[in-house]
Symmetry: C2
């Protein structure tokens, strides 16, 4: 029989899996609000402390959307080429986007994303820190957890 | 200099690329609205005519969200294990979720997703057709297009 409440109690295994998915991510799927509807796009991902960091252009619709309404969501945890995508663990973050200094994050970003040196210094590119408010971990079929920012390592 | 309007005129190459990304997708990132904020989760993807089809459980938050507000977005076009995720083409669909008959879509779904036979007949699983309202194709850095449902093959 299917479970009626698929959410399991959060434990250290869930926290470790979630932190590993986030820290190992180089890209993810970003959800923003455009005219009241969700819009999902791909973004490169880095870290700003325990929060994800994105480098985006003001010429992009997702950036304009985040500057108008900072509520967003980021999905990380990409399946490998052979695994079943729906049994591969993934992490959904509920976040609020806030501005982040380019000078502070430029070096670590380029270490993780060396190809972005082609455009990181364009005037239309900026960093946004996605301050985590809550998270949902799906560790595979029937293994779901609700996490807090502190479960993800926030001080 | 960066372009000030990164959107290019839609041509047949863009239409073919977008249709190929959608028809080749076995999974994607779904954006829904939860308490007015976007939430992005991973879903398995099939086709219902020219629209994407998803198989979801009413025990999942994204399903409850779609039944309350059908506005959603689906990102398809997964990078391979070696490519640069941000130069790999991807397609963002703006959709409205509507109910779809399980009997109509069951066979084609199982052909594409044989492992789902483990749960497709559970009473909490249902199909939703994501009727495409508009689409954004990103064919790589600086190659962006706005597409209509008919560009994606809708009759």
């Amino acid at each position: 029989m299917p479970q009626t409440d698929p959410i399991r109690p959060t434990d250290d295994d869930a926290r470790n899996l979630a932190q590993g998915l986030l820290r190992g991510a180089t890209y993810g799927a970003l959800g923003v609000l455009v005219d009241g509807a969700p819009m999902v796009t791909r973004v490169a991902v880095g870290m700003a402390g325990a929060d994800p960091l994105i480098l985006v252009s003001t010429l992009s619709e997702h950036t304009r959307a985040l500057l108008a309404d900072p509520a967003c969501s980021l999905l990380v945890g990409e399946p490998g080429p052979k695994g079943d995508p729906l049994t591969h663990p993934r992490l959904t973050l509920q976040c609020l986007a806030e501005s982040a200094e380019k000078a502070t994050h430029r070096g670590a970003w380029l270490d993780r994303h060396p190809k972005s040196k082609l455009y990181i210094d364009f005037g239309d590119f900026l960093f946004l820190r996605l301050a985590v408010q809550a998270a949902h971990l799906n560790g595979g079929f029937g293994k779901a957890f609700r996490l807090t920012a502190s479960d993800l390592g926030a001080a």
